[in-house]
Amino acid sequence: MSRNAKINALLLLVVAALAVLPLALGLGDHKEEPFTGADGEAETAITEIEPDYEPWFSPLYEPPSGEIESALFSLQAAIGAGVLAYYFGLHRGRRQGEARALAQRDAEAAAQDVPGSGSASGKSTAEQD
């Protein structure tokens, strides 16, 4: 593995560790419901501060079950990951194509430097194109 790839792997490893450690160390054990969403906890806190508060508007569409909700969240992540993968794949391909084209040009130039064979190789690549 190159140094570059090692650093990238290390970055991802630390992110994974930061996500796993709270679970592994049981940091949610003091709660009735461990690892609920902070957004939901804020709603609870609001009703604690103002027990009479009634939300005055409800979502136009609510996923009918936890499964549907997680499906839509996965969809969101999948769309994002797909676009990112397309971006990096496209650029990697472009770079490879670029390198190949340059190598070919150099090879042609080298071939043309050799007297006699130059015109022949020039013709053959022109036909290929």
Partner: protein
């Protein structure tokens, strides 16, 4: 940081909407100008929006025993400046408000203000500041993304404390209460977001030198080899 639908009193909801609107309008203008002047940047714009999509769908456990998610707005703010991120962040929030019942339309203004306005600006500001003092690119990127993430949740905390001051301890009491839910939970997640943003930026430096140079993230003429990359991207 998503304040749930209907969970801000109408006056607050309207006020945050009014506060956010000019940033989003200005952002739409910047975005259309960027696409018109540099059509080649459309792909990277899409990638920046995609990064926000992935990260804000990623709910991660934190040290407080609850879960929250990063925002992913730091990357786009560093690459394209914060106004454009106001638009990309709003799109993400709209998707979640309409399809996931996560956040909401009445709280969109407040959520846009925290995630798509303050977050990107705070992250961008610290990034520029660090760069000016000669801090290495990736260190500045880390702190930019870290602060974009954390400041978003601090704003949410203030928004909720303003709307729901504690009956006995007032605004400051509520600030502490919401802060312990959001801000503390968010610190390790902001570190994760910083690291992930550095990861993506490293991939970008490898794959898109020319584009990053045009956007001013990389300095032109640093390496002779950059020339070939610039040509490739310009095409």
């Amino acid at each position: 940081m998503h304040i749930a639908e209907g969970f801000l009193p109408p006056a607050h909801a309207v006020a945050w909407g009014v506060a956010s609107a000019p940033f989003v309008v200005h952002g739409v203008r910047s975005l259309t100008r960027e696409v018109k002047e540099h059509p080649e940047s459309t792909l990277l714009l899409g990638a920046s929006g995609a990064f926000t999509f992935v990260l804000s769908a990623l709910k991660l456990p934190s040290v407080t025993g609850s879960c929250s998610h990063p925002t992913g707005t730091g990357l786009g703010a560093i690459l394209f400046r914060p106004p454009i991120m106001a638009v990309l962040g709003t799109i993400t929030l709209l998707f979640q408000a309409l399809l996931l019942a996560h956040g909401g339309l009445t709280t969109l203004g407040a959520n846009v203000f925290s995630m798509a306005v303050v977050g990107p600006w705070a992250g961008y500001a610290i990034y520029r500041l660090l760069r000016r003092y000669g801090v290495p690119l990736m260190v500045a990127v880390f702190f930019g993304a870290f602060l974009a993430d954390l400041s978003t949740y601090c704003v949410t905390t203030v928004q909720l404390a303003l709307a729901f001051p504690d009956p006995s301890s007032g605004f400051l009491g509520a600030l502490g209460k919401f802060g312990s839910i959001f801000a503390v939970t968010q610190i390790p997640l902001a570190v994760s977001e910083g690291l992930l943003t550095v990861f993506v930026m490293r991939l970008l430096v490898q794959s898109s030198k020319g584009e990053l140079t045009r956007l001013g993230v990389l300095v032109a003429g640093k390496q002779a080899a950059t020339g070939a990359g610039t040509e490739a991207v310009a095409r």
